[in-house]
């Protein structure tokens, strides 16, 4: 095995294409335990953290460009980022301990493709796009189109995520993320719920809802957003949202939670996240 540390995206693209089983990594917090548990060792491991684009955070106009290997601690400690995307910042800060936070990245969290990845539902509701590089050039896809199943992505073997693009929301738009874990810290979500909504006075004029850990991938729940749009986020709308989330969930039973429990908690968390997002968007107390 060989470890390569390219300094440019072009070099990384070439290295990844040069060996059939080459792999890129950012924090390696999933990769190293997977290698230790007996998965085949790649012949070349490509460390992306020496490439400026992969570890940069830039704002141009209203667009944020965030490198795929930026450690999540660098996002949660960025006040401008955390105030523009409070839910996404909170979700990113929930990935593991302080030790892991200094290594974990959106690129890794997304491409490891765990159904319980904390940053993914918040990236989806914020309409994040992933810029993907390969020998054929770069393409941009919605984050929602990257993960296809547990451990599976739509990326070809010679592609990797370079950076993420996000549009700063209007002042009357805000997001929130909540997750349920059996323990307070150092645990994997049993259910995660991200909500982003826009208020026009007391009326919700746009909404997006995504759930994690209740299906093979994070899921966007259009019926749940539809329940909010046009409402004043009254009790009936919140009940409809919760019911839509529970109905859209297709969870498994495992030792951390039963399917029934996850279905119910999905609705409860989405409802609470909606109330937090509404407050952040300038709404009155609900």
């Amino acid at each position: 095995m060989k470890i390569a540390s390219p300094n440019t995206v072009a070099e990384a693209v070439e290295l990844l294409a040069s060996e059939g089983d080459a792999r890129v990594f950012a924090g390696a917090t999933d990769l190293i335990p997977q290698m230790r548990s007996g998965r085949p060792e790649p012949s070349v491991l490509i460390d992306l953290k020496r490439i400026d684009r992969l570890i940069s955070v830039d704002v141009t106009g209203t667009t944020w460009t965030i490198g795929a290997a930026v450690p999540t601690s660098g996002l949660t400690s960025n006040d401008a980022f955390a105030s523009a995307f409070p839910g996404l910042a909170e979700a990113s800060g929930l990935i593991g301990s302080d030790q892991i936070q200094n290594r974990s990245s959106w690129g890794g969290n997304l491409c490891n493709a765990s159904p319980a990845a904390d940053s993914v539902p918040s990236l989806i509701v914020n309409e994040a796009r992933a810029v993907i590089a390969s020998p054929r050039g770069e393409r941009t896809v919605a984050v929602n189109d990257v993960v296809t199943g547990p451990g599976q992505t739509s990326l070809a073997a010679d592609e990797f995520v370079v950076e993420f693009l996000l549009d700063r929301p209007s002042p009357s738009t805000a997001d929130a993320y909540l997750r349920m874990t059996p323990r307070t810290e150092m645990d994997i979500a049993v259910v995660g719920a991200a909500v982003r909504l826009t208020l026009d006075g007391d009326t919700c004029s746009a909404a997006s809802v995504a759930l994690s850990a209740v299906a093979p991938t994070a899921i966007q729940v259009d019926e749940a957003s539809a329940a909010l749009v046009g409402s004043s986020l009254d009790e009936a709308a919140l009940q409809a949202l919760a019911a839509a989330c529970s109905a859209a969930s297709r969870p498994i039973d495992d030792r951390r939670g039963t399917a029934d429990y996850r279905r119910q908690v999905a609705g409860v968390l989405a409802r609470r996240a909606t109330q937090i997002a509404a407050k952040r968007a300038g709404g009155s107390d609900l």
Partner: protein, 166 residues
């Protein structure tokens, strides 16, 4: 077998290594540099007993390839004291008996240092979250938390630290 020549600063000293590719920072520190204060508990980033600072940031050395620290600055428990003068955290842990078997202690001290470096007066809750990546199977954490609080008070008051017993 592929080897890569790397140079980094280890506890203040310029260090060269020629590790086998894919060696973890943990194994390189223990087996090449002989710094056995860095412990392997789980090897998967859950227990924190292998914690070190890389360019001041808290990391699990089991979850890093040693090649990644080329050109960086690494601090282990062996670099925490200033010569024979213990770090206030070490003194507080000794006085507060914040350890039993001691396996987790180097990692806890490094994590506590990283915490105090960015938050000089953490609340109890901030300490518990800041040390959540460090598991102790003996003490129940109370003495650890109290000793970190005590060290923070002493550091903020500028209290001179005790000399290490010779």
């Amino acid at each position: 077998m592929t080897r890569t020549h790397i140079t980094f600063t280890l506890n203040g000293d310029e260090t060269e290594m020629l590790p086998e590719c894919g060696t973890s920072l943990l194994d390189a520190l223990r087996d090449e540099a002989g710094l056995t204060g860095v412990k392997e508990g789980c090897g998967t980033g859950d227990c924190g007993s292998c914690s070190v600072l890389v360019d001041g940031a808290l990391n699990c050395s089991c979850l890093m390839f040693v090649e990644e620290v080329d050109g960086r600055e690494v601090t282990t428990i062996e670099g925490l004291a200033d010569g024979s003068t213990l770090h206030p955290l070490q003194t507080a842990f000794l006085e507060g008996a914040a350890l039993q078997c001691g396996i987790c202690t180097p990692g806890v001290l490094i994590a506590a240092k990283a915490l105090l470096d960015r938050n000089s007066s953490p609340t109890e809750s901030e300490i518990r979250f800041g040390l959540a990546g460090n598991l102790c199977r003996c003490t129940g954490y109370d003495k650890i938390v109290r000793s970190v609080q005590e060290a923070a008070v002493r550091i903020n008051a500028g209290t001179p630290t005790n000399e290490m017993d010779s």
